[in-house]
Symmetry: C2
Subunit: 385 residues, 2 copies
């Protein structure tokens, strides 16, 4: 309660800094007079704060010859936020490839790089592949490692808040891996690890198919679907980070495992990988009856899993991503089933970001982290229950 | 952003009032000196605010002879929050009975009254029954209708934010009923309508089996289960108020309808009411094999429905309420299935509030509404993203 009455000058300074930074970031550049007007702070306060921000390198005075030509008299000094004062990484660790994105402090992507990796590669090899991808990307775009302010990582599996993978069957040696700790050795800034479907949900909400809704479910439709949910614009991780792990639904004994579901013989499909599944789908397209039946079963399962999620959460929008999103005949049965079992069926749409969704979401999480540090005042001042 | 710099004297007065009220409510009584110390406000500000609060009737000076005996000299004046300055109702509209709770502004329950109602009663009759229950309760506890500050209502069905029942198959003529509007005619204060399972979730979190967790799912286990979820301590209603409507899961075609599930013959159970179901359960206890099989199917279904909810949301605790919570052999299979399919199985526990859960939650929602008006400052000052 004491905050309203002031009393802590360093806190007040920090709040004022954040207010000014926030105002500057929302515009190309601004004069001290403009900052004073927008922030409601006094002129001397604004001058002191801007001076401090220039010292930290986050704000710079725009050179006089930048922009419009000088008018008569001495022009007012103009300041701008230096988005290039720091950088962020968004990383995606997948079964077949690793992807890295680098961006500035405005979240503007400066470059991206993907490298293939063997789906059977052990954890060390996969992480090494990620490290060389990052190193090459940073070199290409000319960003020094020291300028990184935060690194976001999207990974399959249930991820604890400390970055440990509690369970991850999609990648070899992934369960139990202290992924956050391992990657932290390569960076001096915070490394934030998130489940891949959760990261993708954040990405689609940021700049994909879910930008117009704060209540959104993203389904990463693969062999075993996972999901990420935004509730009121915020990621719902669940108490133990396991929310949306609907891939385990078949364990409830109401249906076959994916390897039986997708089999065109009496034996389970083996190995159960995307290559084998792609063949089943190809045969189905060519008219093979057993393959077509397998695909129908697979789509039925996906539809069922998504419907249970929708009944539990009642989102406004469901975004379907992952490789199964590209299959013909996924969206229509999904819409039909949801219309049948839901009182208010959600809008169903395909991912806009496709393969870039997870890395983009990881980047957004890194940006969130940095913004929370730089602009924390915003939520303090405007948040209401 | 302007708030930090002041500027709006009426807002500041309101904030200071809320701060003082909040401080007084947390204690039995306090002197002006104590209020000054706790709030960080100046003595003249506190004096002005307290005077204003005494005028509104929310605060009263404690009589000098109350409490401890006088010490030498003139004792400091002591003030206390007048919880009796207003009252709240919590109402539960069920299939077989209606219940009303009345409480003071501290949420202290002053009285409760239930009346039976025919499960086939049309909406008008059910609402009239509720009205007479409220009137009788208010008369008994000596609370005037004019002192009511808010009324909370728990009702079956999907409830829109304006208090209209979008869908409610549990009660006759319930779908489409403008419940909030109808009840508002009897009260001059706000009437807040909420789904019954949602209200019960709030109640168990307030003073039931879920007080130690902010991530909780409450399952109202009846013929068709419904659920309410708290995420981070807040009710998750879903985008259209339909979150947790897991009773519709059987529509996904993976299982029979309740009337087939519970039948001990080849015909669906008819009528499907609690009386008929109670008979099936009684026969099962007496060793009837077909009845036992029906009960097993019913429990299996409940377990499955709860498990899908847990996979979607990953709560810390699941509280089972409703009449099926009282059945033998519900909790153990539930724990077993959740352990099998969940990476971090939640704690499963029985409702502590039982039949009082819905009305208690409705009361809490009314209290929340009043607190938001009186003490809104708290969330403004302490909320952080």
């Amino acid at each position: 309660m004491g905050r309203l009455t002031g009393g802590d000058p360093s806190l007040l300074r920090r709040i004022n800094s954040a207010v000014v930074l926030h105002a500057l970031r929302a515009t190309d550049h601004a004069t001290l007079t403009e900052i004073t007007r927008v922030t409601g702070l006094s002129r001397p306060t604004v001058e002191g704060v801007v001076e401090g921000l220039v010292e930290t390198g986050l704000v710079v005075e725009r050179a006089a010859d930048e922009g419009a030509a000088r008018r008569q008299g001495r022009p007012a000094r103009r300041f701008r936020f230096r988005a290039e004062a720091g950088h962020l990484l968004g990383l995606d660790i997948g079964a077949h490839r690793v992807t890295a994105l680098v961006a500035d402090l405005d979240g503007q992507v400066l470059g991206t790089l993907s490298k293939d990796v063997d789906e059977k590669a052990p954890a060390d090899e996969r992480l090494e592949r990620l490290r060389t991808t990052v190193a090459e990307l940073l070199r290409r775009v000319g960003v020094s490692r020291g300028s990184l302010r935060a690194v976001g990582v999207g990974s399959p599996g249930v991820v604890e808040t400390d970055g440990t993978v509690r369970l991850g069957t999609a990648l070899p040696e992934w369960t139990g891996l202290k992924l956050g700790e391992r990657l932290s050795r390569s960076f001096k800034c915070p490394v934030l690890v998130e489940n891949d479907a959760n990261a993708a949900a954040v990405a689609e909400h940021w700049k994909g198919a879910g930008t117009d809704s704060d209540d959104m479910v993203f389904v990463l439709a693969g062999l075993s679907p996972g999901a990420g949910s935004l509730i009121g614009g915020r990621l719902h991780r669940g108490f133990g980070g396991a929310a949306g792990e609907i891939g385990a639904l078949h364990l409830l004994g109401r249906g076959a495992r994916p390897e039986a579901l997708l089999s065109t013989t009496d034996e389970p499909l083996h190995p159960l990988d995307e290559q084998a599944v792609a063949e089943v789908f190809a045969h189905a397209r060519e008219g093979d009856e057993r393959a077509r039946a397998a695909v129908d079963r697979f789509v039925d399962r996906l539809v069922h899993d998504v419907a249970t999620l929708v009944l539990a959460l009642d989102p406004e929008v469901v975004v379907i991503g992952g490789w199964a999103a590209g299959l013909d005949g996924v969206l229509d049965p999904l819409r039909g089933e949801l219309a049948r079992c839901c009182l208010r069926p959600p809008r169903v749409t395909l991912s806009k970001l496709g393969a870039a969704a997870v890395a983009t979401g990881a980047l957004r999480l890194a940006l969130d982290h940095v913004e929370e540090e730089l602009f924390a005042v915003e939520s303090t001042v405007t948040a209401r229950r």
